[in-house]
Structure formats: structure tokens, C-alpha cells
């Protein structure tokens, strides 16, 4: 009986699928290591809707740095892709939703029963004036510190719990001849480190206040972040701006550095590309001072207004939000599902620990990965970072950050 029902359901789906034809263009920055996960989703889509031609418009570049420029040209030119990848939160809202370029997806959420499947905090992040604007595919954690357990035992140090402790460990390691205990990469990974330092120094509440405008960037508390950040940088390699995040992780794996602060896509890189076992080949801990806080970012897909293949795009969004879609995509991508009902057995040891933390920890959003500040702030924050790196003047950097926050109306 059950089998018959399933067959019928499959047939029904099949006829729906057959009825759908045309094209679907998906715009993302998932190439390289992340490509197979996207391909698995596309394959799943093609199984449901075999007559739809899926165009995979990928623009390479970590964290979407290049893709966003291409996307802007296309949107301004009146040629939006049917659905595009965007970091959930202010990166979408502060750029495209406020400009009235996106379709309201609240109806889709109600229709698919997603209001109870996604955590409320996440739905709030996707909402603007009570309407929801994108479908989250995954959750990544930003505040993770990576190391190789065997190496730490060799050096006789423990993963530090606070930034003060980190600086002590750093001195110990330096005295043992390790030139740069912290491995650091190009510009955006330096900002990535900054947000973990800020969270560790300020605590979750004040960190969140930065983005709502309750705590100003030139407040003494926020200036202190830059001072700690500067001392942490002294533990890092000098050739940072020449390294990709993967190369920075490699330094830890090769024993040239002890720690690296990176999002948990690093776990995907180490397990999939490097073939290491979580917990043995590499270890992890929350970034110093951030235990019990989950700094999250999420990749999501939205529906621009005026697309050519709206129905196909809506079907794509349905697939992304479904349990099957999320559990197909995330184990390959090295992230956890945004849905709370996903199947833990499909995930590896690191991801299972992240799933537990996702349900129990306090959630805050990442700056660099678009959750808490609009693109106009994020992009100019790179300049603030440069002001600090060239002058090492905490007050000057803090003043510049506040000037930009005022200019882009952060938190208003």
C-alpha cells in the first residue's frame, strides 16, 4: 500500500515535472571545492524537473567578492538571473531589498510550512518590515579556531580559551621557534579574524549592539577591540595578503603555524580535499572568548523581481528549503542544514558538534559574511582595516568605522 502511494506520489511529481519546461539560471560563487555540492542540488532538481534546462552561472572568488560585482552589472542592466546566491541577512536586505528589487517570499514560507522548520532567529534575519526575502540553504559557523591536536601536544600547549590566554600561548610558541603561531590570509580573512576578536572582547550582547547602532564604533569598548586585534596580528604571518584562506589552513596542517581562525568551510576543505579525519587530523574550538556563542552566516537564494523563468525559480527555492535538498547539499558543502529537523547521521563528527551548538548556543551574525551589515558597510570596512594596518592607530580606525557606519545608516 505504501509502495503504491509512493509510486503515485512520484508519478504526480513526475507529471508536474514534465509540465515544467524552459530554463533556469542559477547564479552563485560555488566553484572549486564547493562545486560538487551545488552540482548535487542541480542533479536533484533535474530529477524532479527533467525538462528544465539548468544554467549554472558560477563566478569564482572566495566569499563572492567577484560574483557580487557581476550580479550588480546584470541587475542594473535589467538582466537578473532567475535566482542568485546571497549571504542571508543585511547583505541581501541592505543592498537589494531596500532598493525594492526582490520578491516577497513570505507566501512560499507559509505554503511550504517553513515557518516552524527554520529557527525564528534565522527568519528574523531574513526579514525586512515583516516580510521574508530569501530561502536559507545552509548554516556556517564563523568563529572557529582550527589546529592539529598532535602538533599542540608536541608543543605542549592547550587551545586558548580567551584572547589574553591566546597571547600567552603565542609567546610560548614563539619562544619554541614558531615564527607565526597564527596563520592568516588575504584581506577578507583578516576582517574575519577581526570579527572573532570583536566578539571575544565585547561579548555577544555588545557585539550585537555594534550593528544596531547602540554601541558606537568609537566607544572606548570598541576601540579596545582594535588594540587586542593589533596584538593578535603580531602573532600572525607577515605575508598574509598573499595567501588564500586554503593556503592559510595549509600552514596549520604543515605545522608552520599552530592556529587558524576561519569559518567551518575549512572543515569541509580538510575532510574532503585533504582527506583528514575530524578530531584526529584536525581539531577545533570556538575562537578565544567566544565559547557558547555561535557566530553564523548562511547562504541563501532569493528571487529578483522581473525574472524570465519565475515558476522554475520558485521550484528551485522549494527544493532548497526542503529537507531532502538541505541534506543532499550540506554534507558535501561542509555546512549544517538551516532546518532544525535534518538528519544528523548524514553529517561528520565536526558538523554534528556544530549542529548541537546551533541548537544550544546564543546566535549572533557575521560581519564579513553579510549577516549583520549591508554591503556598503562591509566593503568599506576593508578600508578601515587598511587604515589600522598601516597606522596601527586604534582610535583612527575606530573613527573611520564610525564615519562609515553613519554614512551608510547602519542599524537604522
Amino acid at each position: 500500500m505504501k509502495k503504491l502511494f509512493l509510486t503515485l506520489a512520484a508519478l504526480a511529481l513526475g507529471t508536474v515535472g514534465l509540465a515544467q519546461s524552459g530554463k533556469l539560471e542559477i547564479f552563485s560563487w560555488w566553484a572549486g571545492d564547493e562545486g560538487p555540492a551545488l552540482q548535487a542540488l542541480i542533479d536533484l532538481y533535474k530529477k524532479r524537473y527533467p525538462n528544465v534546462e539548468v544554467i549554472n552561472a558560477t563566478v569564482t572568488g572566495g566569499s563572492g567578492v567577484n560574483a557580487r560585482a557581476v550580479l550588480k552589472t546584470r541587475m542594473l542592466g535589467g538582466d537578473p538571473p532567475d535566482s542568485f546566491q546571497v549571504h542571508a541577512g543585511q547583505e541581501l536586505i541592505g543592498t537589494w531589498v531596500v532598493a525594492d528589487r526582490m520578491e516577497d517570499l513570505t507566501g512560499l514560507f507559509n505554503q511550504e510550512g517553513w515557518m516552524t522548520k527554520f529557527p525564528k532567529g534565522l527568519i528574523d534575519l531574513l526579514s525586512y518590515k515583516g516580510k521574508i526575502y530569501s530561502v536559507p540553504v545552509n548554516i556556517h559557523r564563523s568563529n572557529v579556531m582550527w589546529y592539529v591536536p598532535a602538533k599542540l601536544r608536541e608543543w605542549g600547549v592547550q587551545p586558548p580559551k580567551t584572547w589574553a590566554e591566546f597571547l600567552t600561548v603565542c609567546q610560548t610558541l614563539k619562544s619554541k621557534g614558531l615564527e607565526a603561531p597564527l596563520a592568516l590570509g588575504e584581506n577578507w580573512t583578516q576582517q574575519h579574524l577581526w570579527e572573532s576578536v570583536a566578539l571575544g572582547v565585547l561579548g555577544a550582547a555588545d557585539y550585537a549592539n555594534l550593528w544596531t547602532g547602540k554601541l558606537r564604533f568609537n566607544d572606548p569598548k570598541a576601540v579596545a577591540v582594535w588594540n587586542t586585534f593589533g596584538r593578535v596580528l603580531d602573532c600572525a604571518n607577515k605575508d598574509a595578503s598573499g595567501l588564500s584562506w586554503q593556503q592559510a589552513v595549509d600552514r596549520v596542517l604543515e605545522g608552520q603555524a599552530a592556529f587558524n581562525i576561519m569559518g567551518d568551510w575549512a572543515a569541509g576543505y580538510m575532510t574532503t580535499t585533504k582527506g583528514l579525519k575530524p578530531g584526529e587530523g584536525f581539531g577545533w574550538a570556538p575562537a578565544p572568548g567566544t565559547a557558547g556563542v555561535f557566530m553564523m552566516l548562511s547562504d541563501s537564494f532569493g528571487l529578483p523581481k522581473g525574472v524570465k523563468n519565475r515558476t522554475n525559480a520558485l521550484n528551485w527555492l522549494r527544493l532548497l528549503g526542503s529537507k531532502e535538498g538541505q541534506d543532499t547539499f550540506n554534507p558535501l558543502k561542509g555546512s549544517i542544514a538551516a532546518r532544525t529537523d535534518s538528519d544528523p547521521s548524514k553529517y561528520n563528527a565536526y558538523l554534528q558538534s556544530a549542529m548541537r551548538d546551533w541548537k544550544s548556543n546564543r546566535i549572533v551574525g557575521s560581519l564579513v559574511h553579510g549577516a549583520v551589515a549591508p554591503e556598503s558597510f562591509m566593503s568599506q570596512f576593508g578600508t578601515v582595516m587598511e587604515i589600522y594596518l598601516s597606522s596601527r592607530n586604534a582610535q583612527a580606525a575606530a573613527n573611520a568605522a564610525q564615519a562609515i557606519a553613519t554614512q551608510v545608516r547602519l542599524g537604522q
Binding site: V65, R68, A69, K72, T73, M75, L76, G94, T95, W96, V98, A99, D100, R101, E186, N187, W188, K238, D239, A240, S241, G242, P374, E375, S376, S379, Q380, G382, T383, V384, E386, I387, L389, S390, N399, A400, A403, I404, Q407, V408, R409
Partner: protein, 374 residues
Amino acid sequence: MRWFNNKDTLYGFLVILPSLVLLGIFVYGFIFQTFYTSLTDWGKDPAQALSANPQIRFIGFENYRELFTGLVDSRFRQDLVNTFFFTVFFILGCLSVGLGLAIVLDRSPRGEGFFRTIFLFPMSLSFIVTGTIWRWMLQPQGGVNQLPTLVGLPKGEFAWLTSREQIWQVSWNDLPFITALVVSAVLIFIAITAFRGGERRRGYIASGSAALLLLWAFTLGRSLQPLPYDEPHGFNLAFIGIILAAVWQMSGYTMALYLAGLRGIPEELREAARVDGASEWQLYQRVIFPLLAPITLSAMIILGHISLKIFDLIFAMAGADNAPTDVPALLMYLTTFRANQIAKGAAIGMILLLLVAAVIVPYLYSQLKSEVRR
């Protein structure tokens, strides 16, 4: 309308009319549009930046004022300084390497054709390819820094593209003063040549303006401070790697120019100089180099405008985000397409256009004038 009666002129005009129209729209029209955009607040309000029908207000030269004196735009000012140093070293490098190679090849060594091809070859590559190759070679951990280990020496430590060291720092606040000094030095030079050439009127005007400018520099110019605090800018050592790659790419081109120039100098002239008892060095100094001067000028113009608008080489070698190797063209891209500050990006574009025009227009003017004389 006499020319209209001539059928050939009419046909000629009709043939070039389409390109005139296209040029008018797609070059001059868009220059004007960019200029207008740079005078607006497009992008200041995030809600309007990328909307379908943005509301844009006219704010005059506010974007330019911010770029030169604003708190958060120090990166743009450093980029201008970077462009200056890059242009100087790039042109000097290309000219000296090109001239050196040309002099060597001019003496017709064995396998001249082979070497000429080798030296010219880099020019056939695009800057993106050059940049990618040189990025591999200048990696901090490998490439050039590993070379000494081949002969048993310790490996090099220079952070070719990632160094944060800066030398020859000057405060941005001293810039009006220094600019005035440089301009008056140029005016005094013009005055001296004018007096020597017997153009007294011209000489008086030039020396008079130089005196006025110097007076201003030492009185008001000293107290004119664009910024309320000192902001040092200097030459970023990370640029050395970029300059090396750029010189490698373009010196073959200057070599070809100089070689053509050298081959154009009649052998009789050299013979005559030698008969007069000139040494080899005097031959070059007194006869050959002066004859090569127009070639040097052309090469400087071509190289100058390439260096002012360089983008792809640096993007490929060090990425767009690496501030020590940033130039205005890269910043324009970041400002417009990442930060959504469309008006400010347009303002940077206009400043770049002015810089390139400052190099090209005097050259075109002198070329046109000499053509008319002919």
C-alpha cells in the same frame, strides 16, 4: 559652403559620419554622463543605490572634496601617491632597459633576430598573463626568494607583493606646498629657455608667475592644510614586484622604438663624428641621444598613460583588496561595484581621466601643431 560642392568631400564625410556619431555617444556622451554622475549623491543612500529608478540629487563637487580631504578616503590619497611612484619607476625602468637593449642589439651581435624576438615577446602577452606568471615567481614562500638556495645561500626574505613597509613618507598636508615648488621649478625652467631663445615676453610671464607662486607657497601655501591632522603617504615597497613585472612586459616595446630610431641614424653622421675625434661615449652623448629625444617623448606618453590607468596587472598579481599595491583604477572598481558608492566611483574615474588627459593632451597639441607647420 564651398567644400560641400566637392562630391569627394561629401562622400568622405558620409563615410566617417557613423563613427563620428558612435564616438560622440559612446566616448564623449559617456564621459559627460560620468562627470554628471560624479556630481550627484548616487550611492550615499543605500535604499537608492541599486533601485530600478534611483532618486539622485545634485551635490556639486562634494565627492571630490571628500576624496581629497575626507576622513575615510585616505586610501584614495595613498593610491594617488602609489600611481605617482609607479609611473616614475615604470617609465624610467622601461626607458633605460629598452635603450640599453637597443644599443646592444644595434651593434648587430650574433643571433640579433633571435634576441629581438625574445625581448619583444612579453609585449604579445596580456597583462593578466604576465601578472599570473609573476605572481607565481614572487610568492613570499617560493619563486624568486628560493633562488639563492640553488647556490647554497639562505633563502630571500623579501615580501615582494605583501610588504607593508613604506619609505619616503610625506604628509598629505605638505602636498600643496610641494606642488607649488615643483610647478614654479618648471616655470623657472621655461623662463630660462625662453630667455635663451630670445622670447623675452614669454620669459617674463613665466618668471613672473613662478615668483607669484613661490610667494604664495611660502606665505599662504604653508598654512593651507587639507586635513586637520598629519597623514603620511609614501612609496610602498610591495610595489617593487609590480614594477618589475610591468617593466619586463613593456621594455621590449621601448627597445623596438629605440632600435628603429638608432637604425634611422645615418652611418655618415657617426663616421663624421668619429673623424672629428669623438670618443664612443661622446658620440652617444652628443649625436645619438639628442636624435633619439622625440622617440623618448613618444615612449613616455604611451607608457605614461598605460601606467596611470593600470588595473589588470595588479588585479592578477596582488588582487584587488591588497591596499599596499592599490591604484585609483582598482579603487574605482571597489567603490562602484562593491561598496555601491556609484557617484564616488565616477569621481575617481573623472580624476583618472584628468590625469591621463594631462599626459596626452599636451602631446597631441604639439603633434598637431607640428603637423600644421609641415
